[in-house]
């Protein structure tokens, strides 16, 4: 199949998914959500004021018109004002996004790289004590809830009951003149990073080991070994490259999980003003404009990333185009 045709087909396939996720978030947040009329009005409102608010909120319009309005909000990245803070939702998100990225990125990268190292150690010594130890520790790591890791690590590293090396809460990464300070960043990002690495390591190691063991059993790897290639060359040239499709899928699928779910817990607990904190505040306060923006945007973003990934796979593995 022609590359452009393939790309076009994948993009077309993404449209029903985008419509689906936006429809679900619209139904949950806007259509079936609580009636906001009275939370926006003062006491003893006149019937005219009630009607005015209802028409501003769009309650007098038919279902499809309101859904299309929600779609246009997503497209224009304009969700109006937050109900709690008198601030445009889009500004809040724009300010919070870089914070979340800076916070989650080191842990995400380290968690995957460390897992890959451990998994190749385990796969190399398959069935031996090294493998058994690494996998047993991985299961134990998987069994500790993220929540407990966060609270425990804060206790150990940032409180007077433990080592007390790092700040307990906050995100003061800019110095007095407003410049980004790497030292301050390192101080605030270390404990969250340790928590992210700890939590993701078990799952990632198990996954990478499974992928590597499957590749190890393949005939071309046996052949490469028979030809006398070293274990390093075999691992990188013949195994990892071939395993890029499942690995990319895994990494991409874990992005929404890590960025949204992970930052939700970490940011609300460490008081870091990123997307997770904005989401947590909106959940607690029932701030509908913020919630509908975040739910809709992340879902659409995820579909976009998936579609992009499927196009990338063709580059990794040209056989995919034949299917």
């Amino acid at each position: 199949m022609n590359t452009w045709l393939f790309i076009g087909k994948k993009l077309l396939e993404g449209i029903p998914l985008v419509l689906g996720v936006t429809l679900v978030s619209f139904m949950l947040m806007v259509h079936f959500g609580p009636d906001l009329t009275y939370s926006l009005l003062s006491k003893n409102a006149s019937p005219e004021a009630i009607n005015e608010i209802r028409s501003v909120l769009g309650y007098d319009q038919p279902f499809w018109q309101r859904y299309l309005h929600y779609l246009s909000e997503l497209l224009r990245f304009d969700f109006g004002l937050s109900m709690v803070k008198d601030q445009p939702v889009s500004t809040m998100l724009q300010e919070a996004m870089p914070v979340s990225l800076l916070l989650m990125l080191p842990g995400f990268v380290l968690g995957n790289l460390l897992a890959l190292v451990l998994a190749s150690k385990a796969a190399q010594h398959r069935g031996q004590w090294q493998d058994k130890t690494i996998m047993a520790v991985a299961v134990m790591g998987m069994s500790i809830s993220f929540l407990i890791v966060i609270i425990g690590f804060q206790l150990i590293f940032s409180s007077s009951y433990g080592l007390n090396w790092f700040p307990v809460r906050g995100w003061q990464v800019f110095d007095a003149e407003g410049h980004f300070s790497w030292l301050a960043y390192a101080k605030y990002v270390t404990v969250p990073t340790l928590a992210i690495v700890f939590v993701s390591l078990g799952y990632n190691t198990r996954f990478y080991r499974a992928v590597l063991v499957e590749e190890l059993n393949k005939d071309h790897v046996t052949t490469a070994r028979a030809f006398g290639h070293g274990p390093g060359a075999i691992q990188y040239k013949y195994m990892l490259k071939n395993a890029l499709v499942p690995i990319t899928t895994r990494v991409l699928f874990s992005i929404p999980l890590v960025v949204i779910s992970g930052s939700l817990l970490i940011e609300s607990y460490f008081g870091i003003p990123g997307i997770g904190m904005v989401t947590y505040d909106a959940i607690v306060a029932g701030d509908q404009p913020v919630l509908k923006a975040i739910v809709g945007l992340t879902a659409v973003l995820f579909v976009a990333v998936l579609t992009g990934a499927e196009i990338l796979y063709r580059w990794f593995d040209p056989r995919i185009a034949l299917k």
């Binding site: 029903p16 998914l17 689906g20 996720v21 429809l23 679900v24 978030s25 139904m27 949950l28 947040m29 079936f32 959500g33 609580p34 299961v139 134990m140 998987m142 069994s143 500790i144 809830s145 993220f146 929540l147 407990i148 609270i151 425990g152 206790l155 409180s159 009951y161 929404p256 999980l257 949204i260 779910s261 939700l264 817990l265 609300s268 607990y269 989401t279 947590y280 959940i283 607690v284 029932g286 509908q288 919630l291 975040i294 739910v295 992340t298 879902a299 995820f302 579909v303 998936l306």
Partner: protein
């Protein structure tokens, strides 16, 4: 995996027996099973009213350490931490069981239908629904459902069921697609059986080992998720759960009281690790591919 000589293939019932014998040899798996059974007894005791009933009683002994009358100490308003932890075990099992049973049922039904009518409009529709549900970040979905249902008691359960069934459905769907091309299905067709009868009587029973594995995975995910959602305030509404205990404990910790935190997190950790051991051993014992590997 296709048996070359049908005479050495054991009869149906002994396949389960063989799996059980395989499972019994896995000492870590047996330990996991023991842990899960102990927790189940603990939960049953609460259901029967044997223990854990005084979880909400307030006393004048605030933040006490462990003692003979309060085994694991008390919390900031003088409630017995051990009683709360035990009662929360029951809550965790309730969430786990409700979510597991309903999500598995839904996943098996819809996955089997999608796989059996592969390529039809119903398959396309179900795949679309699964794709949509998998694309919405899970905690946001729960928050959205909680919001839409106006803080309904079962909003969390509904949201988990609505998301967890898709994994089961995808696995059952691909297994049904593989199974329906096998000879025994063709034989049933040749004998004139209705296609619905073939699906229920011949294909779905052959996916039971996968269904069992999935139930253990969903159960443990549901319990872990409940803790996080309750901590965030969108989980358990009535009663006490490990997540709520941990949420409470964030204030105690700053004052140097760890009763709540240690009790809830240890109870959760031991149950989850027991379940993970059990589930891993079960996968080894039930997965025919791995079984044939061991035989070599």
């Amino acid at each position: 995996m296709t048996a070359i000589n049908p005479s050495i293939q054991p009869p149906h019932a002994s396949l389960w027996l063989k799996s059980w014998q395989h499972f019994k040899q896995d000492r870590i798996g047996m330990l996991g099973l023991l842990i899960v059974l102990l927790y189940f007894l603990l939960a049953c005791g609460v259901w029967l009213g044997l223990w854990g009933q005084g979880w909400s009683e307030i006393s004048a002994q605030f933040n006490q350490g462990p003692s003979a009358s309060h085994w694991l100490g008390t919390n900031a308003i003088g409630q017995d931490v051990a009683e709360r932890g035990i009662y929360a075990t029951k809550v965790a099992f309730e969430v786990g069981l409700v979510v597991t049973v309903l999500a598995t049922l839904l996943g098996v039904l819809l996955g089997a239908v999608a796989g059996f009518y592969q390529g039809s409009w119903i398959d396309a529709l179900l795949l679309w629904v699964m794709g949509v549900l998998d694309s919405i970040p899970f905690y946001l979905f729960v928050a959205a459902v909680a919001y839409a249902m106006a803080e309904h008691v079962f909003a969390m359960h509904m949201a988990m069921i609505a998301v967890f069934w898709t994994t089961v459905a995808r696995i059952i769907r691909s297994e049904v697609i593989a199974l329906k091309q096998l000879e025994f299905v063709e034989a049933a067709q040749a004998m004139g059986q209705h296609h619905r009868a073939i699906l229920w009587a011949h294909i779905i029973p052959n996916t039971s080992h996968l269904i069992i594995i999935q139930t253990t995975l969903i159960f443990v995910t549901a319990i872990k998720t409940e803790v996080i959602l309750s901590f965030l305030g969108i989980g358990i509404k009535n009663g006490i759960s490990w997540g709520l205990m941990i949420a409470e404990s964030t204030n105690d910790i700053q004052a140097g009281y760890f009763n709540n935190f240690l009790t809830a997190s240890l109870l959760l950790f031991v149950l989850v690790i027991g379940f993970n051991f059990f589930s891993d051993a079960l996968q080894d014992a039930l997965d025919p591919k791995i079984n044939s590997h061991h035989a070599k």
